[in-house]
Amino acid sequence: MIYTDLMDFEGDEIYTSAIPSLVGKTYGDILSAFNKNCVMGIIHADAKAILNPPMDTPILGDDRLIIIGADDDQIHLDGKAELQENLIVSFNTQQPQIEKTILLGWNWRGWRAVHELDNYVSSGSELTIVANCRELQAKIPTLQEELKNQKIHFQSGNTTDRQLLDSLHLEEYSHIIILCYCDELDPQKADAKTLITLLHLRDIEQRSGKTFSIVSEMMDIRNRNLAEVAQADDFIVSDKLISLLLTQVSENKVLNSVFY
């Protein structure tokens, strides 16, 4: 949702802009310099983009700021920090939490997704993969070796099957990810399977009285609207994101370094 919102040309997008009057201040200082824009990071003269740099990073003369705004001519330095200091509470630094994630379904992007996830979770976290995919089973030991933080459990099975889904104790997982079977099936059939799984999950959720966190992949943007009935927390429509990314980069080449 957030990525789509930033990348389509409706609403707000990401712009880069050099703002001479902010040179010499630190990144932390300038966060509140705008009322209707939001600073995300800095692009240095070497064209390297740094999102969320250390707060004491100084703004140099040839830096460009990465800014969210309605349009590139709509960037105004009109912020005034009206702090409600009494509302800021410092909370204890959180202990790293062990997370249990379950991945239902599989396609070639799964490999990359598992690696990315491994960078986020703390050591000792668990990842259960349930998929109707024979080749994957043989590759699991290799995948496990490449991971630093997660222990993988693999179970072969049909992820549209209610009995199987019921047996997984989904309420024990902090995150549920659904990947579509787009390697073997055409987009419509792959999305149909994902939708069936989603509907079952929502039913299981309602019966258990717990709230699930579900991220689901969709091949066809039109099916996303259909899937809203199934109320996923988020959808990733791969092709749409990539085409949006291409148009944003074509508008502004510097953005390429922001997205990577």
């Binding site: 919102d5 509140s32 705008f34 209707k36 999102l51 969210i68 912020g79 009206e82 509302l87």
Partner: protein, 61 residues
Amino acid sequence: MPVNFYTVIESARRQGKTAIGYRLMDLAHQANAAYGVVLNPEKAQTISFSSADKVILLAED
């Protein structure tokens, strides 16, 4: 307690994070309300968060 987004940004800054928006979970399933996601809010506006709502942050981990 209504809070303005300057305060949210300052609160995140003290933890080394950049706040860029928020998500109101009451609207999480409403397509016409962007599923509750608000990016780049006007900072002077005040928002009444509930404990389920989330702040969207850029952070290392």
